[in-house]
């Protein structure tokens, strides 16, 4: 039986977009009390249950309503219709240090901010030392906050927010703050929250953050829920549907360069073709290009290039590799590029295919980004390339005594994995 920490039921939120803001009485009287506005639905009939103890992500591009939903859950905005139920205490980190008074000291601001987040005075007093230690501001706590550096400011904000220790924590893209060591500390704290069984709701458009931390993600667009799924699938949907990458498309035949040879249909097939649109990292990929030719092309060189969704080149074949030589007879045929294993991680990749002359610089035909394939990573590794490190651990001065499970596997510390650990720390 799963208990829901947050239940969102039929939530809609309408914003009124005024053509010109008229807030003075005079202007209202002139307009007869009516102000022209365009209704804008930031949220439309959103339904979602967030389970207790789960880390849930909301993905979507700017203006999709994800922050509005978060603000509704936090109680900052009131929904136009619908209802949200939150079980237990809730703290929202929409902006670190929101509500800090620059003229007050760090100490006063801890109390003010803590109270704003719903702590009683006694609670804050209990946690005060933890907060100061976490923010690493022992020496500056009695200085006015306006003299703090932006890093100090943000650290204090985060320290207060996490020490509120809510049952439900709402986070809006604020984790990427501070220097590397502080970020690590923040992530450690988030992990600790997860271990303690607290519910975390993260809003972001950073897919790697989602993949690493969330159990489920919800993809939103135009104020509506597109899908609620595992991070891998959710991110794939997010990238495909929302960034406008689109599903696999096939190209039309283009013009013939040099009027000799033309590349027609280019298709991508992969290890999972037929079952799913995307392939998993490590699966095979076959690109097949249909080639028409009016005359025999004995000295052809087939080339292929792969770009990622940022249009960065991932791979281009060696143009002089004799393996790429093709001999196209009159009438044409099929050129097949086979990759036994695609070591790529998440993303939508576009394929460009060309045939050029091996003897001179003539290009018979070149189809730029003519087809696409998608890789969806079911695991939690992020980045572009799938590397598989072997990782082991040893104590200094000793040989390698055991193996630590590879990346992606659950790490369970036990004496058998780390022999000698107990002795060395005792």
């Amino acid at each position: 039986m799963v208990t829901n920490a947050i239940e969102v039921r039929e939530i809609s939120k309408q914003f009124k977009l005024y053509t010109e803001k008229q807030t003075s009485l005079k202007e209202r009287i002139i307009k007869g009390g009516k102000m022209p506005f365009t209704p804008f639905w930031a949220l439309r009939d959103v339904n979602v249950d967030i389970h207790q103890g789960e880390t849930f992500g909301i993905l979507g591009r700017n203006g999709c309503g994800k922050s509005t939903l978060l603000k509704c859950i936090a109680g900052i905005l009131k929904p136009t219709s619908g209802e949200i139920r939150v079980r237990g205490s809730l703290a929202a980190m929409l902006e670190l240090g929101a509500g800090f008074q620059p003229d007050l000291s760090g100490r006063d601001n801890i109390f003010l901010n803590g109270s704003l987040l719903g702590l009683s005075h006694a609670d804050i007093e209990k946690r005060y030392d933890d907060i100061v230690a976490f923010a690493e501001l022992e020496d500056f706590i009695d200085n006015q906050v306006k003299f703090y550096s932006s890093g100090m400011y943000v650290r204090l904000g985060f320290a207060v927010a996490v020490n509120v220790e809510p049952d439900v924590l709402l986070v809006d893209e604020v984790l990427a703050v501070g220097d590397a060591s502080f970020q690590r500390k923040c992530m450690d704290h988030v992990k600790k929250f997860q271990r303690e069984g607290r519910t975390i709701l993260v809003v972001s458009h950073a897919t790697d953050v989602m993949r690493q931390n969330c159990q489920r993600v919800m993809v939103m667009n135009h104020g509506q829920v597109i899908t609620i799924d595992e991070p891998g699938e959710g991110i794939r949907v997010f990238l495909a549907d929302l960034l406008g990458v689109g599903t696999l498309e096939h190209s039309e035949s283009g013009g013939i360069v040099g009027n000799v040879l033309a590349i027609g249909t280019v298709t991508a097939e992969h290890g999972g073709s037929g079952e799913r649109m995307h392939l998993y990292p490590g699966e095979s990929l076959t690109i097949t290009a249909d080639v028409d030719s009016l005359a025999p092309v004995p000295n052809g060189m087939a080339t292929i290039a792969i770009h990622d969704d940022n249009n960065e080149l991932v791979f281009a074949s060696d143009p002089d590799d004799p393996m790429c030589a093709v001999e196209v007879p009159e009438g044409g045929g099929m050129v097949r590029f086979h990759f036994p294993e695609v070591p790529l991680l998440d993303g939508t990749y576009s394929v460009s295919v060309g045939v050029r002359s091996a003897t001179d610089t003539a290009i018979y035909d070149w189809k730029d980004q003519v087809t696409k394939f998608e890789v969806a990573n079911p695991g939690r590794a992020t980045g572009r390339v799938r590397l598989l490190p072997d990782i082991s651990f040893r104590l200094r001065g000793l040989g390698y005594t055991g193996e630590v499970p590879a990346v992606g596997a659950e790490f369970a510390p036990s004496p058998s994995i780390l022999p000698g650990w107990e002795e060395s720390t005792a």
Binding site: L25, A74, E83, L90, E165, G197, W421
Partner: protein, 330 residues
């Protein structure tokens, strides 16, 4: 992803048990989540009152913050808070005592009693118009009962009120005047009624000004008129007879600040009439206040209190309606 090589902590192996670190009880799943918060478009008055009560610590902090921010950087600090009332007092004293030559004894004390009440009301109402707009940054990012912002301006006014009461006590001692000890019990009642009424007005104004920024300026003008409709510099006795002729006394007293100011004057000034010594052949008595007993004043305060409670609840409902869109309007 990250390969954490760490010594297994006690908290990991037994996450279900409360772990006490540094005196604070840590989170236990399933223990603290009996509270269910419901967010929807409706205004739940009971819930709002409960939230206000639960966040009373925040009210104190917001008030303290306001005061600190206001006076922290100035050398004279809180002395500045007295400068404005002192100047007002001095000006009216000059006009009425020196120029108009009123023969009312201890006119400064009389003035002080009324101004005390008026300053509390005036400071709160005037301050509340800008408080929500001024705190847009917090309102957009943090969820808390926003009425507390308006109530914090009342809190600030109460602190200034307390300082002024201290000064008044010094004045009374200096003039060797004694308040009416027997009627002193009326003062706390009057103060509470004034507080409720002031809070109601402040909460209402703070919300309305978000949508109609004119409220701020309108309030300034309205308060000026309101001041002269309240018996502060002139005694009620001077207008009372004229009003009675047209049966309008009730209308005058419908101003909730009036009975409260009169109560303060009645108890502290402790004189309901005086006999002028100069140019007064028949030794005519000049009435200052109604000479009814404490019961009349108590009744007036009671009426103000009941009406104010009603207004307070109404202002919470209005605030609740308008609050929903604060974050987008600001």
């Amino acid at each position: 992803m990250s390969l954490g090589i760490e010594k297994p902590a006690a908290a990991d192996s037994e996450p279900e048990r409360p772990v006490v670190i540094g005196g604070s009880t840590r989170f236990v799943p399933g223990q603290s989540n009996d509270r269910i918060t419901i967010v929807n478009g409706k205004v739940q008055l009971g819930q709002r009152l409960k939230d206000l009560w639960r966040n009373r610590d925040l009210l104190i902090l917001l008030t303290r913050t306001e005061l600190k921010v206001k006076y922290k950087e100035s050398v004279l600090g809180y002395a500045w808070s007295m400068l404005n009332p002192a100047l007002v007092l001095a000006i009216y004293y000059m006009i009425f005592k020196v120029i108009s030559r009123t023969q009312q004894p201890h006119f400064a004390i009389w003035l002080f009693c009324g101004l005390l009440v008026w300053n509390l009301f005036n400071n709160s109402a005037q301050g509340s118009t800008t408080v929500v707009v001024g705190k847009a940054g917090i309102i957009k990012k943090v969820a808390f009962p926003r009425e507390l912002l308006a109530m914090s301006t009342v809190g600030v006014a109460v602190v200034l009120f307390a300082i002024q009461v201290g000064v008044l006590i010094v004045f009374l001692a200096a003039f060797q005047l004694t308040p009416d000890w027997g009627s002193l019990w009326l003062l706390p009642l009057a103060f509470v009624a004034l507080l409720v009424f002031t809070s109601a007005v402040s909460i209402f104004l703070s919300a309305v000004n978000v949508y109609l920024r004119d409220t701020q300026h309108l309030t300034e003008v309205a308060l000026m008129a309101w001041f002269w409709l309240t018996p502060i510099v002139y005694p009620f006795g001077q207008v009372g007879s004229h009003l009675a002729k047209y049966h309008l006394t009730w209308l005058y007293l419908a101003n909730p600040v009036a009975p409260i100011a009169m109560t303060f004057q009645r108890v502290i000034y402790n004189q309901t009439s005086y006999i002028p010594t100069k140019n007064n052949p028949g030794h005519a008595v000049v009435p200052l206040l109604p000479s009814y007993g404490d019961g009349w004043y108590a009744m007036m305060i009671g009426i103000v209190f009941v009406v104010s409670i009603g207004l307070f609840l109404l202002s919470l409902v209005v605030f609740g309606r308008l609050e929903g869109n604060f974050a987008e309007e600001l």
